[in-house]
Assembly symmetry: C2
Homo-oligomer: 197 residues x 2
Amino acid sequence: MKRSLGRKTLIMPAPTWVVGTYDAEGKANLMTAAWAGICCSKPPAVYVSLREATYTYHAIEERKAFTVSVPSVEQTAIADYLGMVSGRTVDKFAAAGLTAVRSEAVDAPLVEEFRLNLECRLLESVKLGLHTMFVGEIVDVQCEEDCLNEKGRPSIEKLQPLIFGVAQAGYYAVGDLIGPAFEMGKSLIEADSNADD
Amino acid sequence: MKRSLGRKTLIMPAPTWVVGTYDAEGKANLMTAAWAGICCSKPPAVYVSLREATYTYHAIEERKAFTVSVPSVEQTAIADYLGMVSGRTVDKFAAAGLTAVRSEAVDAPLVEEFRLNLECRLLESVKLGLHTMFVGEIVDVQCEEDCLNEKGRPSIEKLQPLIFGVAQAGYYAVGDLIGPAFEMGKSLIEADSNADD
């Protein structure tokens, strides 16, 4: 039996990613975002949805660029902190013990301590209401070598990204591998073909 | 040491959600999407990014509505199947043993067997390239009662949603709770205040 819960953003999982920007004066800043995701394969693009009240919103409008970093489980307190205070009043890089590295590709800072960084050039802004989606074209992905798998791609097991549980407001780890995509469903295709016989 | 991986959508986690639609003739269909997420709090909104080649793309354009359902770990083969075949040629509801329930709120089918369903009215379409983002206003959330926590909200532990590992093309479970949001970061705020003394 289902219960109606109303007009709410109650769906999961959400990511826990960190958005890096320079403000108009060139100060590097970071904020955590859970309203974020991949939104296009060609061009490769991610979005982050931000409230106009945030410092990062204005930095992206100014610089037309941002980075997206993926904190790992052992960096959860840092990720949480970066979503609790404003870059208007605090130097969050210094307070969190993080190192800003100037991107060569876009006008935004990379974060040395986060093991996966994406460099993004602003492609579109879509004002939806309280949040505006900033869609960024992924110009490059940089990953620590010890997080790459045997195919040279970022390993979710090694990276240990955080999951944001929206309804609980809690951070979760990635759990067990259930199985391979585009494989597990084959049993249903075969069952369907047999039924046609 | 970081390695540059180029212009790729290599970031994680992504969700594994199922988009429900009626086509122009009223046939109910489902497809799995990982390029999807929450994108606004007010109005509450989610998006799914779809290729024009999909059957679902045209159904959303026709009906201006869709549902988003969250399959659970034990439904992984079904979720995978729904992303492997096209609703043009197959009745995926029948093949997967799923039951379409007409939404009272929007012109799209709910899925009885998926424990969390969102009913969405199309708010915006944003063509980015290969993918178009369909942003839907969340008109209602419906959740099985046995998946609600003590506050009446969907529990990520009970729901057991899937995580899509983009670089591995694998499905993962949600793992351990690391800690509460807006709490774990307080230690860094306090450390910062002490440093100012």
